[in-house]
Amino acid sequence: MTARLEVRAVTTAFGGIRAVNDVSFTLDAGERLSIIGPNGAGKSTLLDGIAGKTPFTAGCVLLDGAVLPPNRPARHALAGIGRTFQRVEVFTSMTVAEHLLLTLRAAHGSPRLWRDLRRLTRQTKGEAEQINETLEALGLERDAATVVGTLGLGNCRRVEVARALIARPKVLLLDEVSSGLSTAESAALVATISALAMERQMSVIAIEHDLDVVRAIADRVLVMVQGSVIANGTYDAVMADPSVVEAYLGSNA
């Protein structure tokens, strides 16, 4: 059986720096992986690569056994990779509901020029239902008509998650989604994502600094230090690994 996502010997170099150095791993459908590591370990760079945002210097990513074209983020999105960003990338003048509508519309690939001209692009009932459902799942229903530029960081993160989820991605990539949220809020968010991952067989890769969140969200943990994977296993196994302890104490000291 092919894995849902396979990351194959991926390297990303910026000039002389190898931000990601020969990383390989696989992810099954519905599996939840957390990537941890000190600042500058290359976690975000790896995620950007998987999402097609930054090109790889070497290696490739396969979704359901098919190689994804490098450096084409829109194609990756349409192929079923949803994501959030470490520095939120929202559309400041759009409302929360419009963010979700945009995702639904974008699922068709090209802008619908002809339908626009015939005014057929007003929101349909089906779209409204999907939007409401997603907003409720994330506790954003009260903010549906709020302009995102006026929301706080925590809500912006939730908007990003909602925007990714409504496309029903096969793989969801989360970059420090709990930062900016209170403990209770992040617990609720993690619960929602976990439940959806079960229900939709959606795989999740979550970069996290908060170890409580890591324990709650992940079936498996991958530890990166200076671009390389130094450990890959269950939470308890990884935390017991001496090299991980050393890397963490080294960076925190």
């Binding site: 003048s93 519309r105 020029l113 626009d116 006026t150 925007r163």
Partner: protein, 653 residues
């Protein structure tokens, strides 16, 4: 060999002047983040000062010092102080708009400072036409030698200053982040001023060096020089001075050689040859790896700035605003009805012309207003539409309506080509590509008799109406124009409110975010450019039909500049803005032949537009939207609108 050299050698001195301009361009871009189109104008001014002073009996040395060492740096510093230092936080597009406004203004200034007679080429600053030495039978004048020496020495000085001096280091740091520079204890203002003075001096030097080689000292000659400089800057990826220098000289020589070898009087000589530089420029922009990333340098400290909120506050429409908008449009319609009934035919004609222009400007609304992409080729697309309509009528008697439709289709097809060529590009690089296309039309496609009709121009089919005899100044034609404008405006509005608009806003506000949900910038760019091309083509055909005869001069890039300045000033984000701008342009472009006088109100209108366009950097939404914003503030006081909540949250944030 002798023949080759006789073609190649004369190219070297002008290549050197081009190189100076190019280095100035790169220097300004590197140190201040402004892609400064107005260098074309600044070089022109310097050349003009030199030529006029020498004509009026001053020595060449005095004139050169005045033009190069005094006037040019002062202009640079004044521009920095008055404009560019105040818009460092504006988008790259906004900064280019301001630079274009400066170009526009600078080219107008001489016509009222000195008399408007033609200024002929001055004698050279260094050397003369006396032969310095001869290579394989080709004489090289001392003037050429002087030019080359001056250019090379200046290029070396620039390289040394930028690479090794403290000032150079600070200038390079300033472009990364003026605030980081200040945090490290350097005052940033003097540094950017120095950068402006220095690069303006180079522009002035290029302007003076090239003046003696021209026939007359006029803006168009300097445009050509500037385009050479731009191409050289692209060759160097806006970064490497050595490549820029070599590129400028190599390019100029290559063009001179090509020009020499192409058989005289053939299609190759008249069309293909002159087209090479522009096609080359377009290809370089499309494929040069450095151009993909040619975006305004971003300040690492920009994250600490509050986001620019003006767009949010002015682009949301509540029900109240729609009501006001409706009332506004009703007033416009009533106004036009009044005009139709009461005003004299000449004014009706001007207004109809304005409405036709407004249709063309709707394409700017789509491309620049909605997708935030500056395009300088909308005027050329309008020209393509008009010429196609006229030529089709001349050959196949298709009449106005079918001709305009086909003209729109042809313009749309060309716009699609431009967008496809720009697929890999974003932002400023796309704009440069539109410049290359506009110039290709300007210098090559339109002058080609098959398209532009040669000296006599193309006579356009008149608008006909079933059962009514109409002339160009008939009131019915104005009504027809309004119908056309309303249809096209409706298209723009539907796109704006539909999914295309949603995609465009998303791309403008976060390209990464848009891509993450599957919006492909390249595809959206193609759709907007193509649609805008059709609008421009149809509008251009109607405009041409009103003019009766169109020639290449009706659609050159300078005219496009006036259009762009007007629509940016008045409102590039709305249909209403396009309408007002079109009418303003029609009045501002009233013939000003026979010398400009200060009592000429068309001139004042142009000045007003230019001044208003400068505010684009702070208010990209334009005057019309600002006025609408004012009306909504009033209504917000009446009922609590969402707008007011926005304001309060903004204050808290």
């Amino acid at each position: 060999m002798g023949v080759f050299l006789s073609y190649a050698l004369p190219g070297i001195p002008s290549g050197c002047a081009v190189a100076l301009l190019a280095i100035g361009l790169v220097l300004t871009y590197r140190t201040t983040g402004v892609l400064h189109f107005a260098f074309a104008g600044q070089a022109y001014i310097a050349g003009l000062i030199y030529a006029v002073m020498v004509r009026d009996g001053h020595g060449t040395a005095v004139a050169a010092i005045m033009a190069i060492a005094i006037a040019s740096p002062i202009i640079g510093v004044v521009l920095d102080f008055a404009l560019f230092s105040r818009i460092t936080r504006a988008t790259a597009t906004a900064r280019v708009v301001v630079s274009l406004v400066v170009l526009f203004v600078v080219e107008q200034v001489p016509s009222f400072v000195i008399s408007s007679d033609t200024v002929y080429a001055p004698p050279p600053l260094l050397g003369s036409s006396a032969t310095a030495f001869t290579i394989s039978g080709t004489a090289v004048s001392t003037q050429s030698v002087g030019t080359v020496i001056v250019a090379l020495v200046s290029a070396c000085i620039v390289a040394v200053v930028v690479r090794f001096s403290r000032l150079g280091l600070e200038m390079r740091a300033a472009v990364e982040s003026t605030r980081l520079l200040e945090l490290s204890g350097v005052r940033a203002r003097p540094v950017t001023s120095a950068a402006w003075a220095f690069s303006s001096l180079l522009a002035g030097l290029a302007g003076v060096l090239v003046a003696p080689t021209l026939v007359t000292v006029d803006p168009t000659s300097y445009w050509v020089l500037f385009i050479g400089g731009l191409t050289a800057a692209v060759i160097g990826g806006f970064a490497r001075f050595g490549w820029v220098l070599g590129g400028a000289i190599g390019l100029t020589v290559a063009i001179a050689v090509l020009d020499g070898y192409l058989p005289q009087g053939t299609f190759f000589e008249t069309v293909i040859g002159p087209g090479v530089p522009f096609v080359l420029l377009a290809a370089l922009i499309s494929f040069h790896p450095g151009m993909k990333a040619l975006l305004a340098p971003t300040d690492p400290l920009a994250g600490v700035d509050p986001p620019l909120m003006t767009a949010v506050l002015t682009s949301r429409t509540s029900r109240v605003e729609r009501g006001i908008g409706g009332a506004g449009w009703a007033a416009v319609v009533l106004g036009f009805l009044g005009i139709v009934v009461f005003v004299d035919p000449a004014t009706v004609f001007t207004i109809a012309t304005g409405v036709a222009l407004a249709t063309v400007l709707l394409s700017v609304t789509l491309v620049t207003g909605l997708s935030g992409q500056l395009s300088l080729c909308q005027v050329s697309l309008a020209g393509l539409g008009a010429f196609a309509c006229g030529q089709l009528d001349a050959r196949y008697h298709l009449g106005f309506y079918l001709g305009a439709l086909l003209g729109g289709a042809i313009a749309g097809a060309f716009a699609t080509l431009v967008a496809l060529a720009a697929q890999r590009l974003r932002g400023l690089s796309v704009m440069l590509l539109t410049v290359a296309f506009a110039l290709l039309c300007d210098q090559v496609i339109f002058p080609w008799t098959f398209v532009g009709g040669g000296y006599s121009g193309v006579s356009m089919p008149a608008v006909t109406l079933p059962g009514i005899a109409v002339t160009q100044s008939s009131r019915q034609v104005l009504v027809l124009g309004l119908v056309l404008f309303t249809c096209c405006g409706g298209i723009v509005n539907r796109l704006k409110r539909g999914s295309v608009g949603l995609f465009l806003v998303a791309l403008r506000e976060s390209e990464a975010g848009a891509a993450a949900v599957g919006v492909s910038p390249a595809r959206v760019q193609v759709v907007t450019f193509a649609t805008a091309g059709v609008l421009a083509g149809v509008g251009g055909a109607f405009y041409g039909s009103l003019q009766g005869i169109v020639s290449p001069a009706s659609f050159n890039i300078e005219i496009g500049l006036l259009w762009l300045v007007a629509v940016c000033a008045i409102g590039v984000q709305s249909v209403a803005g396009a309408l007002v701008a079109g009418i303003a342009v029609a009045f501002a472009a009233q013939p000003v032949t026979g010398g400009i006088t200060l009592s000429d109100w068309a001139l004042w209108l142009q000045i007003g537009l230019a001044l208003a366009a400068i505010t684009y950097a702070w208010h990209p939404e334009g005057v019309v939207e600002q006025a609408r914003g004012a009306t909504t503030t009033v209504t917000a006081a009446l009922g609590r609108s969402r707008r007011q909540e926005l304001r309060s949250t903004e204050v808290r944030a």
